[in-house]
Amino acid sequence: MNKEHVSKDQLHAYVDGQLSAADAMRVTAHLAVDADDEATVEAWRDQKILLHAAYDRQLDAAIPHAIATRLKSPSNQPFRRAAIAAAWLAAGIGIGIIADRQLAAPSDAPLALASLPQRAAIAHAVFTPEVRHPVEVGADQEAHLTAWLSKRLGHTLRAPKLAVEGFHLVGGRLITADNGPGALLMYEDGGGQRLTLYVCADNQDSGATAFRFAHQDGVSTFYWIDGRQAYALSGKLTRDALLPIASTVYRQLNGDS
């Protein structure tokens, strides 16, 4: 084969894996007999290796503090969510790595369950700082709220009553869960402390699971699956402070009541 049969563009596409299998084989054969092009391809490949070796570590880097801080400034109020989200990204990467490991290793935790605390914690971090619009439908319209969310979730949702625990319902909102609609109910106590209950369908149909606990950057989350629904209760509380509240929620939602 002589040089005219393989263009420079094809050499690039070969290096970048953007040739069809047949064309790639043709180029491979060509490189075996053309030392110049072979050296060129080798050099371009080395460049890609260098780029990844130098910059892939960025994928694991925490989001810089400067970004979070500047997005949080009062003049940037609409960007608060992004700032909080960015802060949560660092946590997300960590959890993502753990989730990947769980996939690789035999585990009794199905995928939906593995990502549940992360999703719940992100929702908590994004929505609880809202002052004017923490919820879409307020507790004053609780019947409407639960009917609406139940309809979207395809499952009867009851808002647990946490007065005994010192928390009252603020309201709720529709959110996007992994594979469809989810609901986020928000509670608040007299001191302004907020809890969120994240509810979504469990598409894996994992059956019932035990209570599980996760803690990341100050947010504690108890989560569980019952039937076809997944639940996660999150709050900036210690494990011991959140546990009795989570137990109450669990009993009310999953118990015989």
Partner: protein, 165 residues
Amino acid sequence: MPTEHAILAEIPRLRRYARALTGNDADADDLLQDTLERALGKWLLWRPGNLRAWLLTMMHHVFLNQLRHRPTLVTLDEDTPAIPVRPQQQDELDVRDLDRALGRLPPEQREVLLLVGLEELSYADTARILGIPPGTVMSRLSRARERLRAILAGEDRPMHLKVVK
């Protein structure tokens, strides 16, 4: 509007690209932040599709804008203070050297080189993101790779780079 989760998932890759494109952490953070702000302002215009390409398109426009207003963004000279990077192993490439080598490519060539070579995007996606014809992608890619090869080979200036395999 894409879910927060989906956008969060794109940030590490945006950051990697921004870091390679700008050559230092501070400018990369500025580029990433401005891109996110622009994206936040334009979420209403987003249509379900390739979120990564959409965000990269936004980053391209922000990058051009920053170049226009801050020409120093890409003028990396030998006096540029070194960014402390701890080598992960002996003889590993010096990121600063690669930063400098990339900094000596024209920005439009660097964008193509990185979108294709680092972000592993298809030529078609690269053309769409940069708003240029596919043929221009190929010619810029070719020039960028040849120039970088010359720089790394020391023909352009002595560099201390080598691939660790």
